[in-house]
Symmetry: D2
Subunit: 483 residues, 4 copies
């Protein structure tokens, strides 16, 4: 089956009968809802670009099993080149959407499950690897978008899953039947669920034997009975309802988060990838998180490219592109952004094969990558706001600008360089606002902090991966300390 076009994809999502709620009401047509559509467009870009010959090498891969060209988002990485291309594909998509394009979680879940189910089967004699591969071929064959859902609501962070006052605060198996299991719980902060055909569910932390019911992984279609979504509010969300292209900054692309509720959902046996093997929950989490921390070294860099470009355009329009402090700030933004890219590339180039044969990123460097992503975008945003100037947050609405009476005054007084239209100036400032404070800031700032795990999660992993005993030996040798 050929790769879907963007339009095919849109229609395929429209055919799914997902239950989506927003502002207390069910959304009849999520595909055409103005708040939700930009996020769908971002995923669509992963299909559109895969159709273009110039991006074929980055956007697609050849399945070693079928020999077919498949979208790279459904691919299992077979070597470090694949890992590097993943990062470059993500940077490209970040540049084209200035938003989260959401399809990475499925790819990262794929690669984590491929490696982990293989090892579970080796150890426990289960058949999760076969289950997973069957599902994988189905996704590749049909060019589907898959959500990878990890984050449970978690309730009281000081308690483990089974200790919570409400046992459902981590998703769990509530019934076991001969042909499958019934699960209950929720997954929070799901960026791409709304635009996915299937959802992969994984546990969110390492577990002990007493948490066996929580050690569960599986995949089901997004319109499975019992699943529904409540859309999260984003900064400036309803501005998209106003019909102003200018005021939203980025009118075409976006990302949206949802709380996905699993209200007693049945999962057939052949879609189960983990079921009680608690000792493997941690491995699955670490690997998914590792791949996803690599991802941020690509996607956020692409968004950063747009923000750097926007700041440079704003400086041009202000008439100050050659001021030394402006140039220096653009250099600093670039420096920080490329440092993130270095981390994304490095953890990929240093990848190594798993027992299952696919390639895992260097875990230490992937965590270092994400840790930097929790810092640098904030400084890049600060510098962008600095260059943009205060007008970024005080400019009047497009309605004012288009008003016959007010418009001429705004045209007159908010003009920067005389040869640039006030409209263009306002547009670029709105884009910077969008990425600094608006809907896209949710993705570029807060998600950079918390997506793929908060900063402290990376620090724990850095400590675990840093091989401090070896470093102590090196130091003792140099210092002539013999113990």
């Amino acid at each position: 089956m050929p790769l879907m076009t963007g339009q095919d994809y849109i229609e395929s999502i429209r055919r799914l009968k997902m239950r989506v709620y927003m502002f207390g009401e069910e959304v009849d047509d999520p595909v055409d809802n103005p708040i939700l559509r930009p996020s769908l467009n971002s995923v669509r870009m992963t299909y559109d670009l895969a159709q273009l010959p110039e991006y074929e090498d980055l956007m697609t891969a050849t399945s070693p099993e079928s020999g077919q060209r498949i979208n790279r988002f459904t691919h299992i990485h077979r070597n470090t080149e694949d890992l590097v291309k993943k990062v470059k594909m993500q940077r490209l998509l970040g540049q084209q959407t200035a938003a989260c394009f959401q399809r990475c979680v499925g790819m990262d879940a794929f690669n984590a499950l491929y490696a982990t189910t293989y090892e579970i089967d080796e150890k426990c004699g289960t058949s999760y690897f076969a289950n997973f591969k069957r599902f994988m071929f189905f996704v590749q064959e049909n060019d589907l978008t898959v959500d990878g859902a990890m984050t449970d609501p978690k309730g009281d962070r000081s308690l483990s899953p089974h200790e919570q006052a409400d046992p459902d605060l981590y998703l769990r198996v509530v019934a076991r039947h001969p042909d499958g299991i019934v699960v209950r719980g929720a997954k929070a902060h799901q960026t791409g669920a709304l635009n996915s055909h299937e959802i992969i569910v994984m546990p969110t932390i390492a577990m002990k034997p007493e948490d066996a019911d929580y050690a569960v992984a599986f995949a089901v279609p997004m319109d499975t009975e019992g699943i529904f979504m409540v859309i999260g509010r984003q900064s400036c969300d309803t501005r998209k309802l106003e019909g102003s292209q200018m005021d939203v900054g980025n009118s075409e692309f976006g990302g949206v988060e949802a709380l996905v509720v699993f209200d007693d959902v049945f999962v057939p046996n052949d879609r189960i990838f983990l079921n009680g093997e608690t000792e493997f929950a941690g491995m699955l989490v670490e690997r998914f998180a590792g791949y996803h921390r690599q991802s941020y070294g690509g996607c956020k860099v692409g968004v950063g490219d747009v923000l750097i470009g926007a700041a440079a355009v704003a400086a041009d329009y202000n008439g100050v592109p050659t001021a030394s402090h402006i140039k220096d700030k653009l250099i600093e933004m670039t420096h920080l952004n490329e440092t993130l890219y270095c981390c994304g590339i490095a953890c990929s180039a240093e990848g190594s094969p798993t027992a299952a044969g696919n390639y895992l990123i260097d875990m230490l460097l992937a965590n270092v990558c994400k840790q930097n992503v929790t810092r640098f975008p904030y400084e890049i945003v600060r510098l962008a706001e600095d260059i943009a100037g205060g007008l970024m947050v005080t400019a009047p609405s497009e309605k004012d600008f288009r008003d016959p009476k007010l418009g001429p005054f705004i045209e007159k007084y908010l003009r920067g360089r005389a040869d640039v239209s006030t409209e263009d100036r306002l547009k670029i400032l709105r884009l910077i606002e969008n990425l600094s404070l608006g809907t896209a800031a949710v993705g570029y700032r807060t998600e950079s902090l918390h997506g793929a795990g908060p900063p402290q999660a990376q620090r724990v992993m850095i400590a675990r991966q840093s091989n401090l005993p070896r470093k102590k030996e090196l130091a003792k040798k140099i210092a002539h300390i013999e113990e």
Copy 2:
């Protein structure tokens, strides 16, 4: 005349017939408009607190001329104690409103004009000081709120006022009559104009003789003919129209910015404080900016207190208040916030008298203060977002929460610690969102960058005030270099 109560103040503003535009339409009743009202409430707090005995010492002062108790916002600082109390008053108001309370610009313009008009008169034989003092007594007597308007639109930043393609991009005198002058132009980013009785206009940069028409300062009532305002869009502005107290985070207080247009406004002679004496434009700008850079060491610290508190509450509700990394982040936020306060206090305590007899802050330290304000709030916000967790940007709307069908699911799954209501948890996250990304982020972040001049403006002043030749001498002496 006694100090106005908050209610008196609201009514006095309602009586003014200001022209205010928003979303392409004139606002009939700005006082009761849901987007604008929170900003009025913030100013009101400067009246309400002045009525309370426990704050009398901070909120009021005794006029040395009249012997009357006046609101400190209308006071001329007579000693360093006044300067320090100003900062403490601002921190208090930041704590009570978590927003910009707007009345500082008038106070800062008062003190800059008091000192500068005196020196102009000394040099030029003008009578601006008398003009200003008459205006000052009127304001003190009637306990008015005064906007201090400095920032011109500035057009092409590489050109001086008279070089702009459109000569009105800096406000200027377009006609001179026996009884006064006519001015044309605009002032951008005016936070308090909407809630002020009077507006003081000042030039925005140092000027050369050829910019004489631009070297103009004066005061007029906000409802003077020819003045109108266009309200700027803030992140999440229209959320205030939805009627949800929860979703806005801070439902009672806020700040709003406007473009104030002077469409050929007449200014009577006795309200003129500068008129063509270009050599004093720079002094006026530097002093106003200096006072205002001091101000940020008070108000933003108060807002920071609220944000630190909100992050600590969020950590409590997540069940992790004793995690070492959480405690360390709260310490870091506090450390940064108190460093800002140190700068605000220090530039005040090191103040010195002007020729006119009022007290000027230490200019070097005031610029250092503001320079830190362009950095630390961004890091404080980042840490707050870190502690808050991703739910801050993905939580559903209050409508979802109140919905009979969805509500119970949200109640169940978004609960943190079992003994804290989900509602309270969502409220505190919305407050953090408000300060990080929402309407208040405009004030706490972007205004911290650009208010009272962008970072580079402070750096220029730091260079000018740093007495580098003296430092070179010290170094040469130690190094035994004789030249």
Copy 3:
């Protein structure tokens, strides 16, 4: 008795028969030893400047008891003006010596003991306050330099004093006699001990009842039997033995640290200020540390002034004083340095009276001050090294420069701007080396980190002083959370 001149002071120290060891040998004449003399000269500056009319106001104070003019280093602060003048005096001395002038510890111990002994007496009926005042008058009368010794060796940091394998790792009372006590132990990192007439010993941490023998404070002359010092090695210490003024960078001033051993030293009853009242150990430590953390907001700022000046001179000599990135780095150095000064001034201006009547700094702000001192000097040094260029660490020795054969080549090739002598260029680079890597770096960098307690000690105090509950209340009020 009049204040001592610098020369008087030198002679008075020479008369003391202290036991000083260095490189495994007793130093016969510490006063004239080339490694030790610069540190004596730094203290001498506290006497020399006190003789000059232009510094009288900063360097001296009037004793309220005797009405005599005393050196401010022996003064008890009676108001915030005193606290502010202390900081200014310290900045002045840092500027004049580019080194640690050592006399602050005694002043800080004085003020901590004055307040604390008063409160102990109030509570316990002891007579420590009288003891201390008698000692204080003796010091003021004779214009003595007093070391304030707090830091015990501490052994295993995870154990309290009485739990250590060797009970002497914290200084303690080993015998009690009718007329006094015998103490054993050591005080580490004592910068000024060598140049002091008297030494005040204090405990180094808060204590519990089982540590009663360790809760001891007293003063004895530096040449008391049983006391000896071992001088610590500093980076580049022996360069001072080479006789090259140029190569040492700062040939006249310095600071030196010693391990002071108390090998069963007798302390007469009237010199005891604490003896077993464990509940007051913590108060004494906190107050001394608080005053001393304030101090760093003065002295290190003065040293910073010299380093900024040196970097500016180096830039001049390289011919690049107007390069925008050089100017920007000098601004950044100044900004950071003045931020430290703001903290020093602010914690002073916000001081408040103790029960004993002297003035205590604001404890929160003093800890914030020191915390910044653990960071900014490192960045200032980095920027200085950046401006200086690599020659700072690769320039040949003065012997090479003076050599008839090599000299001309060095003269030729290491010249910067043609109108500046190579000698002057080398001198200024050596000064920067001295402060970045050499003997003075010990004081400007490592001591900035660890002096008056390491960074974590300040963080603990910031947490304790930050009144987080109040901040939480503010946030809950704004968020309409009622509990």
Copy 4:
């Protein structure tokens, strides 16, 4: 010819009759001089490790021309794998020496010249490529160490080479003969010259036609007539003369810098690689600098590993390895160090072929790499000093420690954890001192700043390589700006 052993190498250097001056005197036997020997040992490690089978893959490569195994330091990179292995080899050597091992400059000069001479010949019909290859084979065949000398003294930085008051402040051709040229000038900050068999000289900046005499590159043996060196002073240099292994921290390895003077040196025609083709000077400089900026992403990371290990050992010895703030600081040090490594790996993995066929690093990422190296080691050092504690700069000398009378007191009072010897504790603190303030700090700090060009040089390159126009296009497309 087989690869040299370390011992062979030492003897080969001993046979060279280099002229070396230090402290105003010629050094008779540089190989055995205690100040110089550690730096020779560092280079020796590049020979010793190449003999070990476990490091063969990193330390050696196969020459594609001769098919012989050659030391990787003499290799021309043929693919990205070579570039990555270079970085790993450098990290390994940094770990083994905790110092600069100096042989990188030759390798980087090799690769820059290989690519550039090829392109000059293509354009100008010269035969520099053949000249260079002949030299290269000679070096590979004999396993020589080659210095790569770029940095001229530069005099007044505001003037170009031919504008200097003294025309020799940039190295230049002073005479041209049929069989060769005569050059005069000097190269500053040469770390490895002393331990090299040959020296490659290159210009230090891009040039214009009027600087033709300065556009010269060539190679000559280090003992060529007219060449001599003056050794630069390092912090703590003479401590190596004292015979104390403990006090120097790292007694075996080091690095030393020299001013290399070319006092009318004859260069035969076949050793000339550039001679007046000014338009290629910039290309050569950029490529050499690019390779060398990559290098820092390896070597400094290895040194960082030792410093992190040393800090961890110090924490163990203090009894606080599990304190949360200590663990967090070790994590931060690791995070920063691995970020540097990411940059080293990334610019290598993203390398691309030159016209000559060898591989060039990604120039943007290599400059980003070095820019981070100008920052992070300073913070790593600061954190190491924090963990180490003040004793690092106040511990007595080994002579004190070994003294029969003083030793027991030092043994007693400077012990940390009871089960660790005081000697080991002092050793590890001396190593940290060595890297923070001592001889190795010159390499780990100042050289990290200025080696391969100062920070501003990288910023200029980042600006040039950042493709800002492309980023502006991306932003305009998202913002719907059509121009």
